[in-house]
């Protein structure tokens, strides 16, 4: 069945990752929450997804669409978003298998409008087709690029992704617009404060499962404030009533057949790099949310996610709509509610597809006050930046890693904070050089690559000092920092080596100083303690009760023997694999740790 293997290599099948539930989550990707929970969570994701459609409304209006045509343009977009969301929640070769909601994000909208205005909608469709191809190629090759995405680079990516959401969230929460000096809108601030207060209040102090409904409660509170402050009134509701209750999409907006225009393809090619970086960030975020013991980016999963986005782009090109990306706001919502079950993603997608036929409901949700989304954006930004910091600090840092993380963050932040830096960048390169996310992440990747030069994956040290235990711990910490090993693993290895040296000393089998050899790859840390003398026999731990151990106190020899057994048990407990052997009058103890 060679073709089968080739197919598997080309499009790797779905594989479920091993997970441990974080304390602050209620349901993980593979869990099956009750239908009531699934439905209430899905409705909240639908509300957020529809509120984000406001960007697409503005994009449609900029393209000169109005009335039934604009409605159709939105409905077709919703069909693609719904399809993508369902796909993300399935367990196929094109799916992450996570609760991830698609959206027509700012990057894709900006490129789409620019291309439609300069070269027409057909050129945009052609560009989106190339974009789809790029995503499928990137999805295939991403898993091979593990070396480019160590934990600290992923952390920089999340911090910058969160940082990028801050201005968007703050503008929506305060009613301020970019580039203007209008004063704060007090009613917007009030709505956002009530929503954000409710969400954080429920997330922090919620008794039991009220947080599952955090957004609905927050949005209801925000909506009440909006009605009270007059932000939402008769005029807005009249616009909703003007929409038909039911409409089949595709009747009025006719997608243009794709044409190939280089001026349209180049921005999409460059945009795909930013989109891929952004998708890796979303993938890392949802993966970390699902796993207390997150260790490294699950690149095969993120590769499948990119494949899925590639399929969605094909649909976007065919329907003449804006390409989609993964919505970070919905990621924040998943964390607020504590539900990350993929089943909720599938239901959200199906609801979005159904709502594409019901324009009145869509119009109403789009009109919900922007400060509500602003509040969730602020929550998401805060959560993302802290998660990024956690990823960075999960590894031991040394001068090179500090430089990688620090300069990456400075480069990214500089683009956000010093607008004149990118003011002269040609429009075509804006998706890359004008994005703090891309500049910062690429800077961190480059430094990571440079600083890997000259770092040997093996280290050796002779433990001949006054305190061999302390010497071993120091050696492991220094090498661990060179390799960027996880703090927890190096700490455990230090304890195990200390315990082993103590056991060797107590057993009296060591006739001279030991040599500690450490070898590391991203998945295992192997230690070898090599010394002149005989092998240490680590007996398996017999059942032992504390009283019996205390009684042994009278008989010193038996007590020593019991303690040696205890040492052996501790070493076996700390390390994942232990082996002892003797060769040419040298004893060897091998300890292996999963990383």
């Amino acid at each position: 069945m060679d073709w089968h293997k080739t197919f598997d290599r080309l499009l790797p099948p779905f594989a479920e990752g091993k997970r441990e539930k974080p304390r602050d989550m209620l349901y993980l990707a593979s869990d099956r929450p009750p239908w009531s929970t699934t439905l209430s969570v899905s409705i909240q994701h639908v509300i957020v997804a529809l509120m984000l459609l406001i960007y697409s409304v503005i994009a449609g209006q900029t393209m000169g669409l109005a009335g039934a045509q604009l409605r159709d343009f939105l409905a077709l977009g919703m069909l693609v978003i719904g399809f993508g969301t369902v796909l993300n929640g399935l367990t196929t070769r094109f799916s992450a298998g996570h609760l991830l909601i698609n959206q027509q994000g700012p990057l894709n909208i900006t490129i789409f409008i620019a291309v439609v205005e300069s070269s027409g909608p057909g050129a945009a469709a052609g560009g989106v087709l190339v974009y789809a191809l790029m995503m499928l190629i990137l999805g295939r090759f991403l898993p091979l690029l593990r070396v480019l995405f160590p934990a600290e680079v992923s952390g920089v990516l999340l911090v910058l992704l969160g940082m990028g959401l801050v201005p968007v969230g703050i503008r929506r929460a305060t009613g301020l617009a970019a580039g203007t000096l209008n004063p704060l809108d007090p009613s917007a601030v009030l709505i956002a404060a009530v929503t954000l207060g409710t969400i954080f209040g429920l997330a922090v102090w919620s008794p039991g499962r009220a947080r599952i409904l955090a957004l609905l409660i927050g949005a209801a509170a925000g909506l009440l404030m909006a009605v009270l402050t007059g932000v939402l009134g008769g005029a807005e509701l009249a616009r909703v009533a003007a929409q038909p209750v039911f409409a089949l999409p595709g009747e009025y907006y006719r997608p243009a057949p794709p044409i190939w225009v280089p001026a349209a393809i180049v921005p999409y090619l460059l945009g795909s790099i930013m989109a891929a970086v952004d998708t890796v960030g979303s993938g890392v975020m949802i993966d970390k949310m699902n796993n207390e013991r997150w260790r490294r980016p699950d690149l095969p999963m993120i590769g499948r996610l990119l494949n899925g986005l590639g399929l969605c782009h094909l649909l976007s090109a065919v329907t003449g709509t804006i390409a989609t990306s993964i919505s970070s706001v919905n990621l924040g919502l998943a964390h607020v509610t504590g539900v990350a079950a993929r089943r909720a993603g599938v239901v959200t997608g199906l609801l979005l597809i159904a709502l594409a036929l019901l324009p009145q409901i869509t119009a109403f949700v789009i009109l919900l006050p922007a400060p509500i989304v602003g509040a969730i954006l602020i929550y998401t930004a805060a959560y993302m930046m802290v998660s990024g910091a956690e990823l960075i600090l999960s590894r031991l840092l040394n001068a090179r890693r500090r430089a990688t993380v620090g300069l990456g963050l400075v480069a990214g932040t500089a683009v956000f904070m010093v607008p004149e830096l990118t003011a002269q960048v040609p429009l075509g390169f804006k998706p890359i050089l004008g994005s703090g996310l891309v500049v910062g992440v690429f800077c961190a990747m480059l430094l990571n690559f440079i600083f890997r030069i000259g770092v040997s994956q093996q280290g050796e040290c002779v433990l001949d000092g006054a305190g061999p235990q302390a010497q071993a711990t120091r050696f492991l910490e220094d090498r661990g920092a060179d390799w960027g090993a996880r703090r927890e693993v190096i700490g455990r290895a230090g304890l195990a080596v200390g315990e082993a040296l103590e056991a060797l000393r107590t057993a009296g089998v060591m006739a001279g100083p030991a040599r500690l050899v450490a070898r590391f790859d991203e998945y295992t840390l192997n230690l070898l303690i090599d010394y002149p003398g005989q092998a240490l026999h680590l007996a398996a731990m017999p059942a032992m009760d504390a009283q019996a151990l205390l009684d042994l106190d009278q008989d010193e020899e038996a007590f020593e023997a019991a303690m040696a057994t205890l040492s052996g048990a501790l070493i076996r407990h700390l390390a994942d694999r232990v082996e002892t052997q003797e060769q040419l009058n040298r004893g060897q103890l091998r300890l292996s740790f999963n990383h």
Partner: protein, 105 residues
């Protein structure tokens, strides 16, 4: 005040202090400001040389070299600035030599 400043609050303060200096540093690094948004091709190489020397010594330097990485970086920057003409006699001649403050009567 210990209750007011737990480690995470101090951490946030230090992060914000770091973030706050980024615009100042980056504007001087690239020689841009609001009125001159074009990268200053005289300033940039000097800044890059200073940073690379400093960083390389911190990462790969041993002992004393590492200890004085900032100082050596600055000296390298000065040499680069004079060599490239970014810093010339004009800048020096306009400065007077330091004087002790004259005691006022």
């Amino acid at each position: 005040m210990r209750a007011v400043f737990p480690a995470e609050v101090i951490g946030t303060i230090i992060t914000m202090v770091g973030i706050e200096v980024i615009p100042f540093g980056v504007r001087r690094f690239c020689g841009v400001d609001v009125s001159h948004p074009t990268l200053d091709l005289m300033a940039l190489p000097v800044a890059v040389i200073t940073l690379v020397v400093m960083m390389s010594l911190t990462v790969w330097g041993k002992g004393k070299l590492r200890l004085y990485s900032a100082l050596i970086g600055m000296i390298a920057g000065y040499v680069a600035a004079v060599d490239s003409g970014f810093l010339g006699p004009a800048q020096f001649s306009s400065q007077t030599l330091p004087k002790l403050p004259a005691p006022s009567a």
